[in-house]
Every structure is written in structure tokens, then in C-alpha cells.
């Protein structure tokens, strides 16, 4: 049962092969059995899950079930969930139980899905390896000595290890796509504004976007159908119709033009990963697509731009964690300043503090123009690169990450090297474009991801392009041996 995809589970529930309660129990017992090996979950909400499953079974019996009714899901611990701890991977929120639900969570609740628990993540989504979590590193199910990627590492690992059929992630600079790539699953970061950010704890508001992490593109389409849509509580969400993302999955790719940015295949890319991506491109040619080399000349600006914009926004977004109203408060503060300094000093981990300091510096008087304003100008150049490219091509393809999963601890002392893990994913966030990562082979038994970047609100096409590839390959069906 746990090897079925979300769409298969949906059909099986409707057909009465098993109940949502049985299915939920299966996943809960798998989590109990296996999660200690990978540390994918921060909180398992067993009681709530079983109650939701029972309610779903009633709905299924009544014939009023939708595609996600009764489907167990794992939610990244960045989404506020009423009555269930929402830690954002931080000591700062270890005691925080949200009094309200994020819009995304509300959508899933309305769809009748079952929340198994909250997944581990880099602290406040700042990291590319899931090593910055207050709750300890998540391990890659394909090799538990390696990282699962980050920041949605728990969500990726849970799906890869079959501890959830699907999960949610958030992507600020690659946090859905990079862990999807490293764990061999499918991940989609939608266009900025496609999914509401309300109730999703902010890291960098102009870049954050939630999306599905699944085994298949078809599952991602089902999830996105539920997640997407305008939310009047999020001014940056876009008032635009949500299509049925499953409708065009099987469309022919005949005539599709794929752009290959030469900057994504140069120095820094692991040769074997490059080879796997080229093999995937070859499959696309067989499916009728044509390939065109393009240039995104400002690619080299993406990482430095990101590391001004994202820290600047986070330095302000994380100011609310001050020990006054919720979250961690230091013991026996002697005065207000002491309360602030120690609550924040003790509540935040070192990567979070590093980024707050970088951001505060970039915004401070005398440096603002040189850093923040300059970064905004560079951001525009990066967007313009894509705009030109999409005049010639339908989708852009390349590697999701420059290499497969690296060893736990390998990069944790070297932030710059760590930051380069997101070198191919960051630009889509800066431009606000949708991007996917799709399993595209293995190097030394570790998964490789193919990245597909689309034009604004072209998620349906991305899913179609990914789905057709998954019809002719089986990379996405493979499971790590010890979690089968």
C-alpha cells in the first residue's frame, strides 16, 4: 500500500481496497519503525491523523470524496497548524503551538486529506542540507551518511522513504527542488504568487513559495490543484484562475522547444550529473522536442544577489521572534535589552544568526544603496535574461543541483560552498518563475535531478513535460532498498 503513488491511493480508497484509517495506520507504523533512521519528522500528529482519517472514511463511504480525501500527507514544519506544534526547525519555536492554520493547511483540510505530522527542515528554511535544524540533521534515505538537501529535507526524505505518499515544501532559493533532486523525488516550486504564503513562516517574503513534493508529476498536479489559488489574506498572491493541472499531463511534446543555458553546464557541474541530465535531454528529443542552446548571461549574479536579498528580508521577518509574545524566552532577563539579546542569542542557531547579521548590514545606513539597491538591480537583470529566453523556448532545462547528495558534515563549516549547492535553483526564485525537479538517473547510487524551469504561471506545461518523461523512464519509481 505504501508503494502506491498518491493517485493510485486515491483510486484504491474510492474502490474500497482499504480505508483511509488503514492507510493512515500503515504510514504511522512505518514512521514509528523507520523514522529514527532518517529523522524526517519533527512532530507526528497521530491522534489528529486518525481522527481525520475516520472523517475521511465517512466521506468516502458517502461518495463525496475528492481526489485527496483520506490521503495521508506530511507538512513541512514551516506551515502553521492549529493545535500542532509549528517549530520551523528552530529552538525559538520549540514551544509554539499555532492558534491558526496556514491557508495551504486549510485547503488540505477542506479537501479531507490527513496530516501525518510535521517534517524536519533547516532552521527557518535557511540551509541546503537540513543540518541547521534544531531537531538534528535529516538523513538521506538512499544513504544515511548523506544529506537529503534542504531546506525541505524532511519532506523530501519522508516521501523517498515511503513515510508519506506526498508532502509539502517551500522554496526560497531551491528548498523544494534541491532536496527533491538529492532524494530522487519530484518537486515543484510554483510561480511566485500562485500559492498563498499566509501562515507559512516567512524567510524571504519576495522569494518564498510553497509547492508539492511527490513521487510523480501526476501527484504533484493533484497536490497543486489543492494548494494553488488567490488568497485575500496574502496581497502577493495572484488573482488568477487555477486550471486543472491534471488535464494536460499527457499532451504530446511534439514541437516543444527546450532551452539549455550554457551557463548551467559549465564549471562546477559534476560530470556524471551533467551526463545524466544530457541523457534525459536525449529522451526528450525522442519524445519530439527540439533543443536549443541559450544563454542566461547573468547567471553568475544569482547567488550573490540572493545572499543580499534573502538575508535582508529575513533580518526583518525574524524580528518578531523577540521573546515577548511567543516562542523562546531566556531565563531571568535583567532588563529589556537582556531579554532581547539572550532570547534571540539562545533561540536562534548560528546559520540564522549569520543571515540576520548579513541582512541587517546590507540594509544599514550607508550600505543600503551599495548592497540592497544594487541587488534589486541585479535581480532585474536576471529576470530579463529569462524574459528573453522565453521568447525563444518553451521550457529551460538543466541540472537541479551541481552534484548528488554530499556527506553530512562535509560542508557545514563552509557556508560559501554550501550556498553554491543552490547555484542553479536560485535564479528562478529571483525571477519568480516556476521550476521543477524530476528524478533523472543515479550517480554512484545517489539520485540526480533534472530541473525544468517554465514561464510565469506555466505550471501545467511543466507538469506535462515532467509527466511525459516519467511515462518513458522509471527513475521516479525506484525506492531506497531499506525503505521498500
Amino acid at each position: 500500500m505504501h508503494n502506491k503513488t498518491l493517485s493510485e491511493l486515491s483510486a484504491a480508497l474510492k474502490a474500497g481496497e482499504f480505508s483511509s484509517t488503514e492507510l493512515t495506520q500503515r504510514y504511522l507504523s512505518r514512521i514509528a519503525e523507520f523514522d529514527s533512521q532518517i529523522n524526517a519528522y519533527i512532530t507526528v500528529s497521530e491522534k489528529q491523523a486518525l481522527a481525520a482519517a475516520r472523517a475521511a472514511d465517512v466521506q468516502i463511504a458517502a461518495g463525496t470524496a475528492g481526489p485527496l480525501t483520506g490521503i495521508p500527507l506530511a507538512q513541512k514544519d514551516i506551515f502553521c497548524t492549529q493545535g500542532v506544534k509549528t517549530s520551523c526547525g528552530s529552538k525559538m519555536l520549540d514551544n509554539f503551538i499555532s492558534p491558526y492554520n496556514a491557508t495551504v493547511i486549510e485547503h488540505f483540510n477542506q479537501a479531507g486529506s490527513v496530516m501525518l505530522g510535521k517534517t524536519n527542515m533547516d532552521e527557518f528554511a535557511m540551509g541546503s542540507s537540513n543540518e541547521t535544524s534544531f531537531y538534528g540533521a535529516v538523513k538521506n534515505p538512499w544513504n544515511t551518511d548523506k544529506v537529503p538537501g534542504g531546506s525541505s529535507g524532511g519532506s523530501a526524505a519522508a516521501v523517498a522513504a515511503r513515510l508519506a505518499p506526498a508532502s509539502t515544501g517551500t522554496d526560497t532559493g531551491g528548498s523544494i527542488r534541491q532536496p527533491a533532486s538529492l532524494c530522487g523525488i519530484t518537486g515543484l516550486k510554483p510561480t511566485y504568487g500562485r500559492v498563498s504564503r499566509y501562515g507559512m513562516i516567512a524567510f524571504a517574503s519576495s522569494l518564498d513559495q510553497a509547492g508539492p513534493m511527490t513521487r510523480t508529476a501526476e501527484d504533484a498536479a493533484l497536490m497543486l490543484n489543492c494548494m494553488a489559488g488567490f488568497d485575500q489574506r496574502d496581497s502577493t498572491s495572484v488573482e488568477r484562475e487555477v486550471p486543472d493541472y491534471t488535464a494536460n499531463l499527457s499532451d504530446s511534446l511534439e514541437g516543444l522547444t527546450i532551452g539549455l543555458p550554457k551557463e548551467y553546464f559549465g564549471e562546477g557541474l559534476d560530470a556524471s550529473v551533467g551526463k545524466a541530465v544530457e541523457d534525459a535531454i536525449a529522451e526528450y528529443k525522442k519524445l519530439g522536442a527540439t533543443v536549443k542552446e541559450i544563454s542566461l548571461p547573468n547567471t553568475h549574479l544569482a547567488v550573490p544577489t540572493y545572499y543580499v536579498v534573502a538575508p535582508a528580508e529575513c533580518s526583518s521577518n525574524l524580528s518578531r521572534f523577540d521573546g515577548v509574545r511567543f516562542g523562546y524566552r531566556c531565563d531571568d532577563p535583567v532588563d529589556l535589552e537582556d531579554l532581547y539579546k539572550r532570547s534571540r542569542g539562545e533561540g536562534f542557531g548560528s546559520e540564522v544568526k549569520r543571515r540576520i547579521m548579513i541582512g541587517a548590514y546590507a540594509l544599514s545606513a550607508g550600505y543600503y544603496d551599495a548592497y540592497y539597491i544594487k541587488a534589486q538591480q541585479m535581480r532585474q537583470l536576471i529576470s530579463d535574461d529569462f524574459k528573453r529566453a522565453f521568447e525563444e523556448v518553451d521550457v529551460i532545462m538543466g541540472p537541479t543541483a551541481p552534484e548528488t547528495a554530499f556527506g553530512i558534515g562535509d560542508k557545514s563549516d563552509d557556508p560559501i560552498t554550501m550556498y553554491l549547492s543552490d547555484i542553479y535553483t536560485i535564479a528562478a526564485n529571483l525571477a519568480g518563475l516556476p521550476g521543477m525537479s524530476v528524478p533523472a538517473g543515479f550517480v554512484n547510487d545517489m539520485p540526480v535531478g533534472l530541473q525544468i524551469i517554465g514561464n510565469y504561471f506555466d505550471e501545467a506545461r511543466l507538469l506535462n513535460v515532467a509527466h511525459r518523461y516519467q511515462q518513458v523512464t522509471d527513475w521516479h519509481q525506484r525506492a531506497p532498498a531499506q525503505f521498500k
Binding site: 506551515f79 502553521c80 509549528t86 520551523c88 519555536l93 509554539f96 499555532s98 492558534p99 491558526y100 496556514a102 504564503r197 499566509y198 501562515g199 507559512m200 513562516i201 516567512a202 524571504a204 517574503s205 519576495s206 485575500q232 489574506r233 496574502d234 496581497s235 502577493t236 535582508a312 528580508e313 533580518s315 526583518s316 525574524l318 524580528s319 518578531r320 521572534f321 523577540d322 515577548v324 509574545r325 511567543f326 516562542g327 529589556l336 532581547y340 541587517a360 540594509l363 544599514s364 545606513a365 543600503y368 540592497y372
Partner: protein
């Protein structure tokens, strides 16, 4: 040395929206602490602000009412600093692109001359909560009911040259924001308050002196007092050979003194940057015109109309247009009185205002309605009562004894215009006061007043004074 004072004001007008500027919580004043603070106001993790368009409309209204430029595109920025009553650790405000740009405002000075004060800008922002230091021993209580209340911060050019000018400007802004109904103007509740930037320089010097910023000025009287104190303090420092330091000073009304809060060096670096949670505010011409159509007659226009239409003096017209309620009240009185503008003006700015002040009532709480006052004035005009009796009638109306006609009837205050009745009293007084009659006839004109007084007294004030005068003159001739 002769000193010149330079003052600029930053006025905070709380906008009279029903809900907060970025959340749906109520803005009503005086609720139990933290009962009007929703998840957004509390700054909980994950919440997002959504702009209240009513606040935008109000800012546009202010721009139009002060001949200021309404920006076609403005943006919200975050002002970052830590304080327990600032839940997010930043205040959403506007920095580089405010919603209202430059404008001009005429104020009337004491000598009757008119001065133009420049408005630099007006921007939208959210208010913070309140720190409650009393009632919590060794601790501070935080009330976030006020957090997120919309404010319009109106910044003037440093154009004022005395505390009195600053007050005149502040009163003018107060009258405009209340006229256009974007602020209740209640200074005690903090709906209208200001900070003053004050500096001095030797008269004739071009360069500005070092300024201090006075905080927490929540009454016109405090503004005047605090500025005068500060001017004096600065002049004394300079004359003693010292230097004024740039700092923020807090006015303490109880002690009537200002004291330093923080120096420039201690000032926060607010790290302003555009708020990524909010879209730029785009305002097209169509919206501006739609708002313009809702503008009421403004104080200046009304004042002009009062002088031309009612023949009032500039002074009377200004007093009567100082608030929209006052002006509306006055116009209703005039109408009900049958067009007795001058008499109405005297009663409204005289007895009515006096009684309101005595009982600490606002004009819209007046026990004597405009229709009632107008009805009474009508009775003065048609000689039913004299001006003197009218004071009795007004007092009775104030005490809730009914309208003018009812009071006149029940108290028998109707003026005696029957010449027979008056003659009878006059004859009686003359007969009983022969000594005074002799005095008068021997040329002591002053005694005439005695006779008038006696007749009025005997008639209980009801005899028509003009008739009494005339009859006495004739009879005393002999």
C-alpha cells in the same frame, strides 16, 4: 542678540477607519487590553498584512483638501526597531514614496495676516501598541489594541516662526482632518498628536540651527508651552557659550518641562526597505476624481462664504468655522431664526460656547439644539422677548425645560409691548420718585437710567426696552 525660532511639525492623525490598516480588527477606543488584536496585529509567525483601502481613500482626501500632490504610486516600507509594543519588530510605514506629496496651507495669524505653510508630505503608517508601566510591579504590560491603527503622518516644512504659529498650523490641520471626516480629532485619546522640530538661529542667519525633536504633544496648549520652553532652553545654552545637541526630548506636562530621551548618536538605524508583503499602491485619476466628489466644503471656503453670505466679520467667520460641527450648527441656527445671522453668530460664539465650555460638552452634545436656539433668536427678532430675557430662556432650555416658545409661555416671559400697560408702570414710577424727577428736570441726565431700571424691574424685565425709553423721555419732559 535677536533670535529667530524655526519650527516644523509632524502631526499624527489617527484615521477614522472601522478596522485597522492591515487587519480586520476593530479600531474602537477603550476596549479591554488585547481584545482588539487579531493574529495579524499580534505579529504571529506566518501572518501577512492586507491594506485597508478605506485608509487609502482617506489619505487621498487629505491630499486633495490641502492642495497636495496625490502620488500615482506609493510604497510601504518597513521601519525596523525593537520595542515590546511593536509586535513585528518593524513598523509598516512609508519612506521614499509617500502617498501624499508637497502641498500648501494658509493659516491666519493673531494680527489677522495670512501665512502660507508648506506641507512636505503625508504618509500612511500603522500605530504601535501601548506599554503600560503602572499596575505591573517591576514589569511592563503590553496592550496591542492600538497596534495597527492607521495613522496619517503629516510633515510640515520648517516654516513656523513661533509657538503661536505652530499652534495655528496645528489647529488648521485639525480642522481640515475633522471637516473631511478622516479623523475624530480627539486629542485626549491620542487621535491627533504631534512632534515638533525646534531650532533657533540668530536673526538674519540663513543656516538652520541644531534642532531637537519634542515628542508627545497631545494638546494645543502643550504644543505652545513645550515649544516656548524649548526655545528658551536652546537660547540659554547658546548664550552661555554652549552648543545645542541634536536629540529627541520628551515633554512632561505634569512638570511642564522637556527632558532628553535620546541623542542623535543613540538614534536607531531603522534600516528602511520596501515591505515585500505589500504591493505598491497605485492610484489613478479616476479614483482621485471620485474621492474629490466626496469632499465637503472646506474651512477656508466656508469662512469666505460666511463673510459674504452672512456679512460676518473675518473673526466671527473664523470662530464659527473652526469645526464642521460648529459651522453646521450655526447655519441651522441662522435658518431657524429666519435669517438673523449676526444675532445667531453672537449667540453661538457667546452664550452657547460659554455654556458648552462650562459643562465640558461638545457642540453635538449640546442640550440646546440648533433648531431650538434659532427658534429663540426668532423670538428676539420679532420682539416677543428682549435680549436680556433671552438669557433666561436660554438657561431654561439648557436645563431641559423645553423650547423657547414653551419656556416663554410657561414662565410668562413674553415681552410687554402693550403701551397702555407700559404707561401704567411708567406713571407709577414717576409718581413714586419725585425727587429723581426733579433732578432729571434740573439737567441731571444720568438719572434717566434709574427710571429705565425701575420700570424694567417693575415689569420683571418684560417691558419692551425701546418703548420704555421713548415713553419715559416724553413723560419726564414734564
Amino acid at each position: 542678540m535677536e533670535w529667530e525660532v524655526v519650527i516644523g511639525l509632524e502631526i499624527h492623525a489617527q484615521l477614522a477607519t472601522k478596522s485597522k490598516i492591515f487587519s480586520g480588527a476593530s479600531t474602537a477606543y477603550g476596549a479591554e487590553p488585547n481584545t482588539q488584536a487579531c493574529t495579524v496585529d499580534l505579529g504571529l509567525p506566518g501572518v501577512l498584512p492586507v491594506l485597508n483601502h478605506e485608509a487609502v481613500q482617506m489619505a487621498i482626501k487629505f491630499g486633495l483638501a490641502t492642495n497636495s500632490a496625490v502620488a500615482p504610486r506609493s510604497i510601504f516600507a518597513r521601519k525596523n526597531y525593537f520595542y515590546p509594543d511593536l509586535p513585528k519588530g518593524y513598523q509598516i510605514s512609508q519612506m521614499d514614496l509617500p502617498i501624499v506629496g508637497e502641498g500648501k496651507l494658509d493659516i491666519r495669524l493673531e494680527d489677522g495676516s495670512v501665512k502660507t505653510v508648506g506641507i512636505t508630505r503625508a504618509h500612511l503608517e500603522e500605530d504601535a501598541g501601548k506599554s503600560l508601566h503602572e499596575d505591573f510591579q517591576g514589569m511592563t504590560g503590553i496592550d496591542l489594541n492600538r497596534a495597527g491603527t492607521p495613522l496619517l503622518e503629516i510633515v510640515s516644512e520648517p516654516d513656523m516662526r513661533s509657538a503661536k504659529e505652530a499652534v495655528a498650523y496645528m489647529k488648521k490641520i485639525h480642522s481640515i482632518v475633522t471637516y473631511i471626516d478622516i479623523c475624530d480629532g480627539n486629542m485626549q485619546e491620542g487621535s491627533f498628536r504631534c512632534d515638533a522640530n525646534v531650532s533657533v538661529r540668530p536673526k538674519g542667519q540663513e543656516e538652520l540651527g541644531t534642532r531637537s525633536e519634542l515628542k508627545n504633544l497631545n494638546s494645543f496648549r502643550f504644543v505652545e508651552r513645550a515649544i516656548n520652553l524649548e526655545v528658551q532652553r536652546q537660547i540659554e545654552i547658546i548664550e552661555d557659550g554652549g552648543k545645542v545637541v541634536q536629540e529627541t526630548r520628551l515633554y512632561d506636562a505634569d512638570k511642564n518641562e522637556t527632558r532628553s530621551m535620546r541623542s542623535k548618536e543613540e538614534a536607531n538605524d531603522y534600516r528602511y526597505f520596501p515591505d515585500p508583503d505589500l504591493l505598491p499602491v497605485e492610484i489613478d485619476q479616476e479614483t482621485i476624481e471620485a474621492v474629490r466628489a466626496t469632499l465637503p466644503e472646506l474651512p477656508d471656503a466656508k469662512q469666505q462664504r460666511f463673510t459674504s453670505e452672512f456679512g460676518l466679520s473675518d473673526y466671527d467667520a473664523e470662530v464659527l468655522t473652526s469645526s464642521r460641527q460648529m459651522a453646521d450648527y450655526f447655519e441651522t441656527v441662522v435658518k431657524a431664526s429666519g435669517g438673523e445671522a449676526k444675532l445667531s453668530a453672537n449667540w453661538v460664539s457667546g452664550d452657547l460656547t460659554g455654556s458648552l465650555n462650562k459643562d465640558s460638552k461638545d457642540i453635538d452634545e449640546s442640550p440646546v439644539s440648533a433648531a431650538m436656539l434659532g427658534g429663540m433668536i426668532k423670538r428676539i427678532a420679532d420682539n416677543t422677548i428682549s435680549g436680556k430675557i433671552a438669557k433666561q430662556v436660554f438657561e431654561a432650555m439648557w436645563q431641559g425645560e423645553g423650547d423657547a416658545d414653551a419656556v416663554i409661555e410657561s414662565k410668562g416671559l413674553k415681552q410687554v409691548t402693550d403701551s397702555g400697560a407700559i404707561e401704567k408702570i411708567v406713571d407709577e414710577i414717576i409718581a413714586n420718585n419725585q425727587a429723581q424727577v426733579e433732578q432729571y428736570r434740573s439737567g441731571k441726565d444720568k438719572v434717566f437710567g434709574f427710571f429705565v431700571g425701575q420700570v424694567m424691574k417693575a415689569s420683571q424685565g418684560k417691558a419692551n426696552p425701546a418703548q420704555v425709553n421713548q415713553m419715559l423721555k416724553e413723560k419726564l419732559k414734564g
